[in-house]
């Protein structure tokens, strides 16, 4: 199966998103909520910045020794009675999961929220083979009803408003009274809780992701606020954990460091409501819990990122802070990015996983304001990595001819200071003169991309360099 992506159409996606009033209303919730909550949580913990350094160092250390920690982890999972499967790519992962489900005689599978499961497209594969996957995170459940991708890695339905959710519930939950009141969000929640409770109890297999894997003990960890991940994994006979290989950390102490920055960066909580450490299947004497415990370790492009400048991206713990703080994400939302991972982390990761030829627009959709890097709990230099992608795109001649020749011309002039000063002086003088009446331009040659949406302010007639020189001389005198 080829990857389904609309990343190559980012510009059209973004234009559509900007003109979607429902989406723009929903995106206001991102701008208002997440930023303040993260700030408050960080301010309340004096050690927060030191913990970010610690988190970065733990991930770097693990990546540098990933082969050895993976071996240690695998051994521990087996010792606790679990099974470990390795998948080079999405195809292999899907086949492994399908086989486990078939061996368990599964008709329905409940799922906890998992980005890697979106990445490998497991839901469609299970459906195509007669097994019903049921998303149980409220946001994921809603978008599954709408046959959509998540638009945010921790708030998958953040692009929707309550009235849209109400319509979907009325459309799908036809066994309920058509006249019921669903005007309040809490009524929507109660309805989903009741519907999904039956699914939890009926499921044959539960599939969750993993926020972390611990080599010391062979433990997989999920973090949720709803408790859906736990009901997914303790009720069915079989629990399948899906994890990409970079989720590993050495010890319980290490994961405790990372957990201290995860929730604070994501939702501004001191700690998520449920942090669950699972090690193997049901023990003798246990009254509940899964009888079979499988871990599917998925590479899907990660091992090739090691040892390159993109290795730093493998530190990502999927908190979503980068997108919560991104002005581009605030404007266009997650779906415009066209694949599984949106925002700044998606702009770096997506080209690595599906190719810069398909996802080249994403690292270009950045103002390089640097807010993403300033809030990243593991200090990934996202703007630097986006710039690396832009360079690679240029080197591989994937950039359009007009942009290439424009950049070429600019490069030629910029490398010749005398010519640069002459050219900019002439341009500023001309624009300053032409715009002296209105102080702005609503139309300029070669600048339609700008003036189509907003006026271009008229320069005052002097270049920055000239003014700098003048003011510095003035101060010296």
């Amino acid at each position: 199966m080829t990857v389904h992506t609309t990343s190559p159409q980012f510009k059209q996606n973004a234009a559509r998103a900007l003109h979607d009033p429902q989406l723009q209303k929903a995106l206001n919730n991102v701008k208002q909520g997440f930023i303040d909550k993260r700030r408050a949580a960080a301010d309340k913990l004096p050690e927060f910045e030191a913990l970010r350094d610690s988190a970065r160092d733990i991930k770097n250390h693990t990546l540098e020794h990933l082969d050895l920690y993976l071996e240690a982890y695998e051994e521990k999972v087996k010792a606790s009675g679990g099974h470990v499967h390795f998948a080079r790519n999405a195809d292999e992962a899907r086949e492994i999961i399908l086989k486990i489900c078939r061996d368990a005689g599964a008709k329905t599978v409940t799922k906890g929220k998992s980005m890697i499961s979106e990445e490998i497209g497991i839901n469609h594969h299970l459906e195509a083979n007669g097994i019903r996957p049921v998303e149980t995170d409220l946001g994921e459940y809603i978008i599954q009803l709408r046959n959509e991708m998540p638009s945010h890695i921790i708030a998958p339905a953040v692009h929707l408003n309550a009235s849209q959710v109400e319509q979907d519930f009325r459309r799908v939950h036809t066994h309920l009274d058509a006249k019921r009141d669903l005007s309040e969000p809490v009524q929507l929640l109660s309805e989903a809780r009741a519907v999904l409770r039956e699914r939890f109890l009926a499921a044959d297999v539960g599939i969750t992701g993993a926020n972390f894997l611990v080599a010391e003990t062979g433990t997989s960890i999920i973090v949720t606020n709803e408790g859906n991940g736990d009901l997914t994994q303790i009720l069915p006979r079989t629990h399948i954990v899906l994890a990409s290989i970079e989720k590993l950390v050495p010890t319980l102490e290490d994961v405790s460091q990372l957990l201290r920055v995860l929730a604070r960066s994501a939702t501004g909580q001191e700690m998520s409501v449920y942090t669950t450490f699972s090690t193997g299947p049901r023990r003798s004497g246990d009254a509940d819990g899964p009888e079979n415990y499988h871990v599917v370790l998925i590479d899907n492009g990660r091992s090739a990122m090691l040892g390159t400048s993109f290795e730093e991206m493998l530190r990502c713990i999927r908190c979503g802070a980068c997108m919560n703080h991104c002005p581009v994400y605030h404007a266009v939302g997650g779906h415009a990015y066209g694949w599984v991972y949106p925002g700044p982390m998606g702009a770096v990761l997506t080209p690595s996983l599906i190719g810069v030829d398909k996802a080249g627009h994403l690292p270009n959709a950045s103002t390089f304001c640097g807010r993403c890097e300033s809030v990243c709990p593991v200090r990934i230099p996202l703007p630097k990595l986006m710039r690396h992608w832009r360079e690679r795109e240029f080197e591989r001649h994937l950039t359009p001819a007009s942009v290439r020749s424009g950049l070429g011309l600019w490069g030629f002039v910029a490398k010749r200071p005398a010519l640069y000063r002459l050219a900019t002086r002439a341009a500023m003088a001309t624009l300053g003169f032409a715009g002296r009446q209105r102080g702005r331009f609503s139309w300029l040659p070669l600048a339609k991309g700008w003036t189509k949406y907003r006026d271009f302010p008229a320069p005052q007639g002097e270049t920055f360099q000239a003014r700098w020189k003048r003011e510095r001389n003035g101060r010296a005198a």
């Binding site: 050690e47 030191a50 606790s80 998948a87 080599a215 449920y274 509940d288 090691l306």
Partner: protein, 224 residues
């Protein structure tokens, strides 16, 4: 054909420029796994005695749990009966086989007590915590017949009993106790950290309690 496992390890090692058998790398990894060094521990939780209990209470309440204290384990049943009555909840209660709960005088109340895991229809359950963390008001629960994991998630109202002496400053201290009880490198099937009642913000980022897990989390601290 090489296996997926072999290929993945070969790719990782090629990318990292290593063979996997380097003595120094293996020693570094073994050492870290054995020593499990602590990282940055926030000063907030590093208090003891009454101060630590008070911090736990403050943080747990900030996570929207309710907390009450009793002087002795023998007072727990009355305290639970009162809690249920105050919230107009039925006087029924599900619990596991935890000996600390079993010895409590349930017959002094009118509570209808049943034992075992939850099958999804219980309104109220009580579990005994393994420990707690004052730093964030987090409870640490361990799976097993004593306190089945389903009781943590299926009932609408979850009551957790914790001994004051088991309230630790930080997560790391709880891991030390787990290692002492289960052996270094071994873990119970499930450890649940619980910080407040279940919630979701998935609809318009509005915080709503009782998503899939308990709508109420009530903590009883036993002081003795």
């Amino acid at each position: 054909m090489t296996s997926a496992r072999d290929d993945i390890f070969a790719n990782i090692r090629r990318s990292l420029g290593v063979k996997g058998n380097e003595t120094i790398r293996n020693q570094i990894v073994q050492d870290r796994l054995e020593r499990a060094p602590r990282g940055v521990i926030p000063a907030r939780g590093q208090v003891s005695g009454e101060e630590r209990i008070a911090l736990f209470k403050t943080m747990a309440e900030a996570s929207l749990a309710t907390v009450t204290e009793v002087a002795s384990a023998m007072e727990v049943p009355q305290s639970i009966a009162l809690f249920l009555r105050n919230h107009n909840l039925p006087a029924s209660l599900r619990m596991g086989d935890d000996p600390r709960l079993k010895v409590m005088p349930w017959s002094e109340t009118t509570l209808e007590v049943s034992h075992g895991p939850s099958e999804g229809r219980d309104l109220n359950a009580v579990s005994h915590a393994f420990g707690a963390v004052a730093e964030t008001g987090t409870l640490a629960m361990i799976s097993g017949p004593e306190n089945p994991s389903t009781l943590n998630f299926l009932p609408d109202n979850h009551i957790i009993v914790v001994s004051a002496k088991d309230i630790a400053s930080d997560y790391e201290s709880v891991w030390n106790r787990v290692r002492f009880a289960y052996g270094k490198g071994s873990m119970p099937r499930t450890v649940n950290w619980i910080t407040g009642p279940s919630r979701s913000g998935d609809i318009e980022q509005t915080l709503l309690l009782g998503a899939h897990g308990p709508r109420r989390l009530h903590v009883i601290v036993v002081r003795e």
